[in-house]
């Protein structure tokens, strides 16, 4: 391979792919069975971190940034005046293999602009995965983007070689999509998701009968939504997200704060701050839904459509529901423990174990790693020293905010100014 030419392409096609945040490579289990190269079992490894603090675990590139479409929020859009490039299938295979052998990456994340047609593009993406698996014996992680509109046959093949497939829904509502990506059809996004879901279910069923059924996209599928590009509020975003989790068996939904890349008047202008704090609050809500036993409507509903920026969504819920507190940590069930602000799921399970040996007091809880500056207003333990004042929600909030410095303090004051 000509290293100079590859260098140039890599620069263009990595740059174009970097706004896609679904970098996670966990959740698969493809064992190294043939003494080939690599495995993708267990936890994904972050081999490095970018200077913006994101995990680098996959070689994340576009096959090409030529595109026949013109979506307003995308750098690759047809009307954008940028350098274009395209990898050959073999080039991507060589890069992946050589990076993997040097322990730089866990695998490949391959997406693409749409050139010629959806099928033509998808065929090449599948070609890369197939070559890696069958010719190179590669057992590392492969994440392919499903190209909206690609045929069922290609989607099925993609799932045979890839660990994860994803379609980016990008814009959370139909109307937003119409405004910003007029060439795209909402149903084209949904179709591949339904297809992949059905294939996964079918393969799972077959697997019970024939042990050697090949794994179909063992790490499942995910999607991404852009935040802050088309005016949706948090309530709408999380409703959409919840809908995807429930109806399409998605493993992850990613939220990506919109990074302004164009002067298009339909979009936030270049120089507008990336809504990182809001993105973080959405992820917290997502976690509360998936791991903490919250229903999305408890956190966001018709009366409460925006997440607070100055406090996290669990604390915010607790302050709106003071009648549920204080919780006795020596007695409460797991569900209620998980609802105490300042208690993560790890602390919850430590508490459940540790209280079998003795009744826990403040000192024990501190050692276990509970963030008492927040938690103490919401719980009692084996001690006479607890919050006796009948504090109102806003008093508690003020006490907590006074005693904590957020890593987002600077961002927060900037973003709050917008509303001030």
């Amino acid at each position: 391979m000509s290293f100079e030419r590859t260098q140039e392409k890599l620069k263009i096609l990595a740059d174009a792919a970097k706004y896609d945040v679904s970098c996670s490579s966990s959740g698969s289990n493809r064992k190294n069975t043939n003494k080939g190269l690599g495995d993708a079992t267990g936890m994904g490894i972050c081999h490095s971190y970018t200077e913006d603090g994101r995990c680098v675990s996959l070689l994340k590139i576009l096959l090409t940034n030529h595109c026949i479409f013109d979506c307003a929020y995308c750098v690759t859009r047809k009307s954008n005046d940028i350098k274009r490039a395209a990898f050959k299938v073999q080039e991507v295979v060589d890069l992946t293999m050589n990076f993997y052998r040097r322990n730089y990456i866990e695998g490949l994340f391959l997406s693409s602009g749409i050139f010629k047609s959806a099928d033509y593009t998808m065929e090449r993406l599948v070609g890369v995965a197939k070559k890696l698996r069958l010719e190179e014996n590669f057992n590392g992680y492969i994440h392919l983007k499903s190209i909206p509109g690609a045929s069922d046959e290609l989607m099925r093949e993609a799932g045979l070689y890839a660990d994860r497939l994803s379609v980016n829904i990008e814009i959370p509502t139909k109307s937003g999509l119409k405004l910003l990506a007029p060439d795209k059809n909402h149903d084209d996004f949904i179709k591949p998701m339904v297809k992949v879901k059905n294939e996964i279910i079918q393969y799972k069923a077959e697997k019970k009968i024939i042990r050697s059924t090949p794994k179909y996209a063992p790490a499942g599928q995910s999607t991404q939504m852009i935040i802050g590009a088309s005016g949706e509020n948090d309530f709408q975003i999380m409703q959409t997200s919840n809908h995807f989790y429930k109806n399409y068996n998605l493993k992850r939904v990613y939220y990506s704060g919109y990074v302004p890349i164009s002067y298009d008047s339909r979009l936030p202008q270049i120089g507008t701050e990336v809504p990182m704090l809001r993105e973080n609050r959405l992820y917290q809500t997502d976690w509360l839904m998936r791991f903490y036993g919250f229903d999305v409507n408890e956190i966001l509903n018709a009366n409460h459509q925006h997440l607070d920026l100055d406090i996290d969504p669990k604390l915010s819920w607790a302050l709106r529901n003071l009648h549920c507190f204080p919780v006795d940590v020596n007695k409460a069930d797991k569900r209620m423990l998980a609802r105490i602000p300042g208690l993560g799921m790890k602390s919850v399970s430590k508490i459940i174990y540790a209280r079998r040996y003795r009744k826990l007091n403040w000192e024990h809880l501190k050692k276990i790693g509970v963030a008492l500056n927040r938690a103490r207003y919401f719980m009692i333990c084996d001690s006479n020293d607890f919050e006796r004042r009948d504090l109102t929600a806003s008093q508690i909030k003020n006490f907590i905010l006074q005693n904590s410095t957020s890593k987002y303090t600077k961002t927060l004051s900037n973003q709050l100014n917008l509303f001030g």
Partner: protein, 257 residues
């Protein structure tokens, strides 16, 4: 009963042999030291313990009946931290485990249990880091070579991971701090010692030892690393928390080019 000072060879089996002796001779007030760390040997009332794998196994098997598999591994992990006085802490832990009628694994309110758990977690984190931060360079004789200087002695812990991942390439991972390494020859992993020539600089990729394409792939990787960063989201504090500076010198993407 007199205070005793046990000296051992620094291996895990050696340590377990010490534990065996503590029970066998009902020793109390015990100090345990590695022979390399011993000071004032002449003046102290000390005894050298010879590693005996049978005795070590008996302690280990006994321990496993008292603890979950994960917790007995915590003992091993914590041992590899090489922290000062780790032996005495682990001895306390083991004694507590043997004495207690119920499994003590999760008794985090007990300071010894908590401490062992914390130290083993630190070692686990270092293991994880090394699995991530090892950067192989292809040598002229087609061996993928990496050197590391981990805070703790984690080579024994990462062997399995690399063996199953890189089953079809020869590789060496060398601990420069502890002067030993792992070599995988396509069949099995062996422990090796290397004598580096004086002009060998482990932070550089000299053309004398490494293959020609090695530079090219390092360059590609460095450029990839730069291109994948989003400037408007730059956050160096977070970056350094994830990749502490002491690891930078062996990371290809962190080299000046």
């Amino acid at each position: 009963m007199r205070a005793s000072n046990l000296i051992y060879d620094g291996t895990f089996d050696g340590f377990l042999t010490c534990v065996f002796n503590v029970y066998e001779y009902k020793l109390e007030d015990v100090a345990i030291q590695k022979e390399t760390a011993v000071q004032n040997l002449l003046f102290s009332d000390s005894e050298t313990i010879i590693t005996d794998t049978n005795k070590a196994d008996r302690v280990w098997i006994g321990l496993k009946t008292k603890l979950s598999k994960a917790s007995s591994f915590k003992v091993y992990y914590a041992f590899l931290s090489e922290k000062e006085d780790i032996e005495v802490l682990l001895l306390d832990f083991i004694k507590y485990a043997f004495k207690s009628a119920v499994p003590i694994d999760k008794d985090y309110a007990n300071p010894t249990v908590l401490k062992v758990s914390q130290i083993s977690k630190m070692v686990g984190r270092e293991k994880h880091r090394m699995e991530a931060f090892v950067r192989f360079k292809l040598t002229k004789d087609q061996i993928y070579f990496a050197n590391i200087e981990p805070d703790f002695n984690v080579l024994p812990l990462i062997s399995k991971h690399f063996k199953s991942r890189y089953a079809d390439q020869k590789w060496i991972i060398y601990d420069l701090k502890r002067h030993y390494g792992l070599y995988y020859d396509l069949q099995k992993v062996e422990i090796i010692n290397l004598n580096f020539s004086d002009d060998f600089d482990p932070t550089k990729t000299s053309a004398e030892y490494f293959s020609d394409e090695e530079f090219e792939f390092q360059k590609l990787w460095q450029h990839y690393f730069k291109s994948t960063n989003i400037e408007s989201r730059k956050n160096m504090n977070l970056h350094i928390r994830h990749v502490p500076k002491r690891y930078w010198k062996y990371l290809s993407e962190k080299q000046p080019n």
